[in-house]
Symmetry: C2
Subunit: 467 residues, 2 copies
């Protein structure tokens, strides 16, 4: 069981335009400062995600709930958006059989389906609510603040549906995942007789997949959440070094930061070669984008920082985006995630046929697992040859332990990167103005009057600029 | 029925750092040249996608096939990748009820499910092949060249499965979509007794969704492909003007090109506010990325061009990526796609409740359709206020006519943009090296010996740069 990073293809000498060896050596000092800053935050309890693997009481909230309710649900529906949705979706795709929700009850071993309502499109919300059998459904309302408009709107609709269905005990069909003390959901839990599980106050939405935000839905559909946290725990241990080259999260963060700020690599393509990690890439995108895309205020003034993450999937996107990554502007790094070859039983052999047709003949005798692995290596090699820096994270296999480790690797790396960029990786002030505008338009009683005035003062659509 | 573009928020004066009015006026001349270059390509039959809406014979290949085979299949499985997969997936998500493959036979009106195998991950391929009932399944093998390694590997596996199932007539379970004369699949069709539908030689993969690549699977699952082409036809007509401000595709292309090359907006976020268009965004990403991400060779030397497209979804990604778009580097434009409000029957009202809790009280009485619309407008306004240029494409509704029009709008815009950037928007030379490396590694008999030598000469992974 191991997670390895090979970053040869990030380095100048291997790849033209990569990080020069001298710059890399010097960065060890900057990393040491970043490491200490993060350790300090951690020690002062400013950030809590490092400590989740050891928080057995919190994990037990999820596993006890899942054990207690075993067999009672055919469907779990998460009402959540952003950090409340991306983790549960990523875990389902990575750790449950392919097409989980399309499998029969028998194929799922009697475990429930898992839907995640991550938007407020009425068409989708209607479709899911019409599809599930309400008496055998659990709705998990996930919002740390209890003020997320999309999630609260869904909750109000679901609550009404449950009433109309005359389901006597709402607590059998609802669970809340929220702050232990603050916010609008916590008092509602008591008032409505609904069980509420905790998101620790010092764990923000995009760092919360290892809290009940992720572990409750995962446990309910039969994921080994203990192994998930054990993998994360091992990664915390591996990252307990202020020596850059020994700390995998440090290596990842420092390479991306240098590439962005010193070499113009403003975009990071995150490209797993495994369908299981397709949705994991979207989880990473939120983590990196929302943590690092910030206004930085220094003595020299204000600037705007943050590398733009971009999700891709191999081999699929070789036929979509790789042309741009290879020949377009040299403004990208590529993070490949490779997976050790599947065991023979899980692989598929390509039969020999058409020995007279060169486009087909060479495929026979290889396996699909071999093909996807060869394509990843060939693409990484081609990028290297063309001066496009890339690194490869390799998991032995996609299981709960490795996924837990990968989650923690990237979370720790994001914290280090925040310190390297000189910004706060744990807030998101940039979404506030849009929220205030929406509150003003919807007539929220405590909406900021300034926001209403600012909205009214915006230039109106100009008919000259319309077609 | 209409598609409108409002680009007020792209213009300086409305948005700080937008396109100045004088620059916009001057661009009319450059657009006129681009328009003429594209018209010339079209007249010389160098590109064929403009003419697809009028090609009733080609459309009839799909509709006749679908009519003839009606009622025979429970599942359609497309074997295809890139341009052969993204179109069919986008059409299914946009134009069929939500969660199509999870609906019962009755809910689907007896129409088949549609799976698209767009990767060679053995786990997914096994799962789909195990799930479908082979005697009631049609596999559509889509590859213009017949040389796509991933698709051909899948075909060999499927062919063997059909044999082992003793399904006497492979032609009942297979269809090919390929070049009318060239490539490896066309002769196989005759040899194996399989019906082959055409991709016109002058229509490349990423411009092929309105050929049988898209129309065959769409027709088989009950989409009104006639309306799809009618919408596209109307857009061709609307774009028949060399006057920039009258040509919607011209407006879109020229704004993005100016923003990228004159104002450093190197990333275009494509962000529909409708779950139905979630997969459409991925279709657009391929179109824009693979068409425009190119090496440009001029008298002044070689450079690397192309705006990087990035798919997002509203309101969902307000909680994931909007922080970066708002406060990160000012290197992006945002393309919103809005949809006219759903009819009352398709919308969901949010019930009044909790009048004492401000986080919930204001939502009651609004609808989800209103909420998602308000969020789009609030986000666009906030971007404008913060100097982040954006435009909004509005569809009255998401139906076949409007989706056909949107497809054609973006395809024509991509052709214009190719001319504005001074590159060939219809080739993809950058993916060749990776393919050659893969052929060499897999032992394809006619693999380039140069590629093998280049591969062997690549620096090996360096243990110093591994953790």
């Amino acid at each position: 069981m191991a997670i390895r990073i090979d970053y040869s293809n990030m380095m100048d000498g291997v790849v033209a335009g990569g990080v020069p060896a001298a710059e890399w050596r010097e960065a060890a000092t900057q990393f040491r400062s970043a490491y200490r800053a993060v350790e300090q935050l951690r020690a002062s309890k400013g950030i809590g995600f490092f400590d989740l693997p050891g928080d057995t009481a919190l994990l037990r909230q999820s596993t006890d709930f899942a054990a207690e309710r075993a067999g009672r649900y055919g469907s779990i529906v998460v009402l959540g958006i952003g950090g409340s949705a991306l983790g549960p979706i990523a875990l389902r795709t990575a750790l449950r059989p392919s097409g989980w929700n399309e499998l029969s009850d028998e194929e799922r071993g009697g475990l429930p389906r898992l839907y995640v309502l991550d938007n407020v499109d009425p068409r989708t919300v209607s479709a899911i609510l019409d599809r599930v059998d309400l008496p055998r459904t659990l709705f998990i309302v996930t919002s740390k603040s209890g003020g997320t408009a999309e999630t609260m709107a869904q909750y109000l609709i679901v609550r009404e549906r449950l009433r109309r269905a005359h389901l006597a005990t709402p607590g059998n069909h609802l669970a809340f995942v929220t702050d232990p003390a603050h916010g609008a959901l916590r008092p509602l839990a008591a008032r409505e007789g609904v069980r509420a599980l905790d998101i620790p106050p010092n764990v923000g939405g995009r760092y919360s997949v290892l809290t009940p935000v992720g572990t409750l839905p995962a446990a309910l559909i039969g994921t080994d959440v203990g192994a998930l946290l054990a993998g994360a725990d091992e990664m915390v241990r591996r990252c307990a070094s202020d020596t850059l080259t020994e700390n995998p999260a440090g290596v990842f963060a420092t390479l991306q930061w240098l590439s962005d700020t010193q070499h113009g690599r403003h975009v990071q393509v995150f490209m797993p070669y495994a369908d299981t990690l397709r949705d994991f890439a979207d989880w990473f995108v939120q983590l990196w984008a929302e943590s690092l895309g910030k206004v930085r205020r220094t003595e020299r003034g204000v600037d705007h920082v943050g590398q733009t993450p971009l999700a891709a999937l191999g081999a699929t996107d070789q036929h979509s985006q790789v042309q741009l990554f290879m020949e377009g502007p040299a403004d990208k790094t590529i993070t490949f995630v490779g997976v050790g070859r599947p065991g023979a039983s899980a692989d598929l052999e390509i039969p020999h046929a058409y020995s007279d047709i060169p486009e087909l003949a060479y495929l026979g005798g290889h396996t699909l697992g071999e093909l996807i692995d060869v394509e990843r290596r060939a693409t990484a090699g081609a990028f290297a040859k063309r001066g496009r820096p890339n690194l490869t994270i390799t998991l032995d296999t996609v299981d709960a332990w490795h996924v837990g480790g990968l989650i923690m690797l990237l979370q720790i790396a994001t914290a280090y990167a925040g310190s390297l960029y000189g910004i706060d990786a744990f807030n998101q002030p940039g979404v506030e103005l849009g929220k205030q505008f929406a509150y003003a338009l919807l007539g929220r009683s405590d909406a900021s009057p300034d926001a209403r005035r600012e909205w009214d003062a915006l230039p109106k659509p100009d008919p000259r600029w319309s077609v």
